[in-house]
Amino acid sequence: MSPTTATAFETARAEGRAALVGYLPAGYPSVEGSIEAITAMVDAGCDVIEVGLPYSDPVMDGPTIQAAAQAALEAGTRTKDVLRVVEAVAATGTPTVVMTYWNPVERYGVERFAADLAGAGGAGLITPDLTPDSGAEWIAAADTHGLDKVFLVAPSSTDERIAMTTAACRGFVYATAVMGVTGARTTTSDLAGPLVARAKATTDLPVCVGLGVSTGDQAAEVASYADGVIVGSAFVRTLLDHADDPAAGIAALRALTEDLAGGVRRA
């Protein structure tokens, strides 16, 4: 049985804390290197892992994730490599979802992707440019294979759209804390709290907050009102900053994870 996000969120909830959700793109600095990096994040306290599928046109990503994704593509990372990373990470027992723009899934074949993701032990998919009203094919495939469907809600979403979106989600709901692309920010958003409250009013699913968190203190702040804290660019930045010394990069990744894991525990 593949590890599920539901179990991870229940465990965190039983411990009276939010879950830490960590993101890295597959294939940066290499396929093996990304497995090693993500495994370090798992060891150091990530409860759920998001494996990014590098894409040529990532319109929701800021410069940090763009840079790593582009490097991963230039190094030849393929969709099948992403599934290999998922398989390796899921084997640690940590629930692993894929975050991907839509076209690579459509090209791979929606049903085939769902089958292969489930086969690799993946827990589901986060789809930043696919909303439920455009996602009938994915919803059907995810249902067939028991995969999480994680759609995004935004501060600009109407109450009607939040209700529609959370009703279509399985696993958890991804609340984008800011109006903007991915990237570490020095202050957390004052839009996130109200958005989480609006989402929680429509669903019993865990609601996680992403976009902008990079420190334990920010994680603690977000953990005070959200069920999960999603961190991406800060991890990627750490790897990019140690591009010439992978061992130091892994050590720094561990330290950052521990800081963030401490943050979600002191909320």
């Binding site: 076209n103 090209r107 995004l152 692309v181």
Partner: protein
């Protein structure tokens, strides 16, 4: 609801033929796209807005553009060639129609800032122009490869008061400029309108851009009937994203006897892989918010496109063109860089008109079509070409391509041909 424009309209969700188009966008932008959809539909149903748009196009941009019988070219080809002179519009291309419409809508929506992407710079210049006209702040995103090959247009945008941001990510061309503009918009959507430059992107952009450019075809159809008493046998336009093409095609979509041709940038030749012939050589996919034909690899990663024409150098295409291609209502063919440049030179020498390299693709393809039609119908066969823009901006490229400015005749010193002094 908007009025039906042709039998090939999108449904309420923006899908053409149930498949093409749609809205594959981050949730953060959905509210803005819904707001834009409502504002556009409301505006198009408001006679005052429509009258304002027509007046600005007429008094400021110079429409209706003329329909011109290119007699010398016609004689050379052996069929009647009509040129819709969008190259004579203010700012030198059809793009001005679209931006004046979108900027007028922006003002109606109460937003103060516009952003735009640009490839060749024509849409950027048009956007900067409209922003100056309406007093709006304007930022234009342009791939850094394009800022170099279209430096004159960067200068024009600066002079018009727009900020030009060179985009280095990805392939640093039009698609990456769109990515960067979308990133700006996600963060600025409450006070910023995105003036999308072509009939692509998420719903409602393909239909809205069609509404603002369809005057080309409406005018051309009426002019053709008035001047020649009949519709043309065929109409032709170049297709990158496809705004000038859909602007021409729309009025003729339900005229079953009018053949419709779109000419895609064939670059070095479709079989070389260095081209931007999306419909001819792409596959169904999702790019920039719409399902359409996309140049992509087997993993769905967008493949870099190539064309001598920056304005056609785009790996996607407007979704209505995908629909028209699939239904067979329009025929899309590739035209290579060489064929386009030959047509550019031909039009310059026969008619004294230097077209944009984009439009030269339409001229090249249409000449072939005209010869085919003339073989069948004789010299009265009529092909109407949308001459979407003028070639001033392309003189650098043309100078290099044709080695212009070099001495024509290298006769050399007397005695050279005999091998020099004995």
């Amino acid at each position: 609801m908007t009025q039906q424009v042709s039998s090939f309209d999108a449904d309420a969700q923006g899908y053409y033929g149930g498949t093409w188009g749609g809205r594959f966008m981050p949730e953060a932008l959905v509210a803005a796209l819904d707001e834009l959809t409502a504002a556009w539909q409301d505006a198009m149903a408001d006679p005052e807005f429509v009258a304002d748009f027509e007046a600005i196009c007429r008094d400021y941009a110079g429409t209706p553009s003329r329909l011109y019988h290119a007699e010398r070219l016609s004689r050379q080809v052996g069929a009647r060639i009509l040129l819709k002179r969008e190259d004579l519009n203010h700012t030198g291309a059809h793009k001005i129609r679209n931006v004046l419409g979108q900027a007028l809508l922006t003002r109606r929506m109460g937003k103060q800032r516009v952003i735009a992407e640009t490839g060749a710079g024509q849409h950027g210049v048009a956007s900067a122009t409209a922003a100056a006209y309406f007093g709006l702040d304007c930022t234009v995103y342009m791939g850094s490869v394009d800022t170099r090959r279209q430096a004159l247009n960067v200068a024009r945008m600066n002079l018009l008061g727009a900020k030009v941001v060179a985009v280095d990510s990805g392939s640093a061309t039009l698609k990456d400029a769109i990515n960067e503009a979308l990133r700006d918009w996600v963060a600025s959507v409450d006070h910023t309108a995105y003036l999308f430059g072509t009939a692509a992107g998420p719903h409602p952009f393909p239909s809205m851009v069609r509404d603002f450019t369809r005057g080309i075809g409406d005018e051309a159809r009426a002019q053709c009937l008035e001047q020649y008493g009949a519709l043309p046998d065929a109409i032709a336009a170049c297709v990158g994203g496809g705004s000038n093409a859909i602007g021409l095609f729309t009025a003729f979509l339900d005229d079953e006897d009018v053949a419709i041709f779109g000419f895609e940038p064939g670059g070095d030749g479709v079989d070389t892989g260095r081209h931007a012939a999306t419909i001819h050589a792409g596959a169904s996919g999702v790019l920039h918010g719409a399902r359409t034909y996309v140049l992509q690899d087997e993993d769905g990663q967008t493949v870099e496109s190539h064309s001598i024409s920056a304005g056609l150098d785009y790996p996607g295409v407007g979704p209505q063109h995908a629909h028209l291609a699939q239904t067979g209502r329009a025929t899309y063919r590739p035209v290579t860089d060489t064929e386009a440049m030959d047509a550019l030179a031909l039009l310059a020498r026969t008619e004294g008109i230097i077209p944009a390299i984009e439009s030269a693709h339409a001229v090249a393809g249409a000449i072939e079509v005209a010869r085919e039609l003339a073989a069948e119908k004789g010299p009265d066969a009529t092909v109407l070409i949308n001459l979407s823009g003028r070639g001033d901006k392309d003189m650098g490229t043309a100078t290099e391509w044709f080695r212009l400015g070099e001495p024509d005749d290298e006769t050399g010193e007397p005695g050279d041909e005999t091998g020099g002094p004995a």
